[in-house]
Amino acid sequence: MSDALKIMPHVVRHAAEWAALLDSDSIEPHQLAACEAWCGENELHRSTLERMRSVGARLDNLDETQRLALRRLDERDGTRRSPRRKSIAALCVLVCAGSLGGFLVQHRQDADYRTSPGERMTVVLADDSTLIIDSGSSVDTQLRDTTRTVTLLEGRLLATVAPDPQRPFEVRTADGTATALGTKFLVRHDDAGTSVVVVESRVRLCAHPSTPCVELGAGEQARIEGGHVSRAQLANVAKELTWTRGWLEVDDEPVVEVLREIARYHSRPLHFDVTALAGIRVTGSYPLEEPARALRAIADTTGLQVVNATDGSVTVSNPR
């Protein structure tokens, strides 16, 4: 069998349907005969189906240990249920950065990790810490003998940090620094400043330039703005983390805010008139990976109109 097999979309589609049918436990004799007839029509049909099924066989051939490992690795993937790491789970940081000054912007092109709109990336650092990097973000990492620094140039990230008393772990934005003192925390940075939410344990928060630092405990949040750190009301931690699983969860919030968030995931321009939509609020869960579906869902509940222009841009407007 030659390696360079032709890829014909309709053959692949049919082969996949047959593969799924053969995969099921109840296959009728006439279906089996039909499948055999399809394979007999053309050598390409037969080889495509055989190769397709060999992929499934690779999973079947795994031993018990490999199955377990694959399950764990799959579940650990950042796009899925919240990863619980027994060995590490020391610290979680969620950082969001909006537009920053020119100095940092200059460096975005050279950032270690960059994600485009709609893309989310999971990175395991050399010290075993993990970063889940949100759509439209730029992140730099520096692991040294005495320090571990993650610089968020733009966007948002969630870091699960491996404990290492010799090397503090800190997340920097243009506004300030969040240093892990224990387990889990979460940071948000927008145009005006940076907010930090502690998920577990404690975090020290310091503004640039140095002012008195603030220590936060679990469930607490604070904001760094204009060189000062100030405490805010308690946070809804679970809700803040939904984006790591690809969802935007909204509880009675201005539709404008929600559209801004969805725009970050949309690869094409999303237009809306902030003034015309002011006062409209929404509640719901929206899939960030499918911005079009999210927009449809919002349109359904609010009565807003979503129009796709021929240039690919999308406009949300109020028909009333």
Partner: protein, 170 residues
């Protein structure tokens, strides 16, 4: 001869001028000089395997792009290996392992994860429940609260995706 000599020449120049710098860059990322040396070496090997290179306009940025990909790959591989070893301890098969078998096992898992990575979560769940856990289509449907028809459609989607990734031209 000329055609193959030119890229190699360019690679030698890159190596001579920037190898030390690249090693330093990776060392700062990893905090470990030995592994940094390996990865710097790997970066140039990767370029050699890919048939050499012309003179890139900004050589360091070019090298860093290649090295960064290797760093990400290495991070993944370490994660996969560590998990595999954990599971071997768990299933009591750790004593049967040799370094080769660990590497083989981890590579297989890594390849499968790459195949599955691009699938929507619900499709991946469906496919794994069927192929990994051996549930029937009906059981998968009950487990996920969906119809058998949907299960079949998702499994077809998974097959097509894995096939295209394994055999398709990218």
């Amino acid at each position: 001869v000329l055609e193959s000599a030119a890229p190699r020449e360019a690679l030698l120049t890159l190596y001579r001028d920037h190898h030390r710098w690249l090693h330093g860059w990776i060392r700062r990322k990893l905090g470990c000089s030995h592994r940094a040396a390996d990865l710097a070496q790997d970066t140039f090997c990767r370029l050699l395997e890919s048939g050499g290179t012309s003179h890139p306009r900004s050589p360091r940025s070019f090298l860093v792009t290649v090295a960064r990909r290797l760093l990400i790959d290495e991070g993944r591989r370490r994660e996969v290996e560590r998990t595999y070893l954990d599971c071997c301890r768990h299933t009591g098969t750790i004593n049967e392992l040799t370094p080769e078998r660990i590497a083989e096992g981890a590579q297989l898992l890594d390849e499968l994860l790459r195949l599955l990575a691009g699938l929507p979560v619900e499709v991946r769940d469906t496919f794994l429940l069927r192929r990994l856990d051996g549930l029937s289509h009906g059981e998968v449907a009950a487990h996920l609260g969906t119809s058998v028809r949907t299960v079949k459609r998702r499994i077809a989607q998974a097959y097509a995706h894995c096939y295209l990734l394994s055999y398709g031209v990218t």
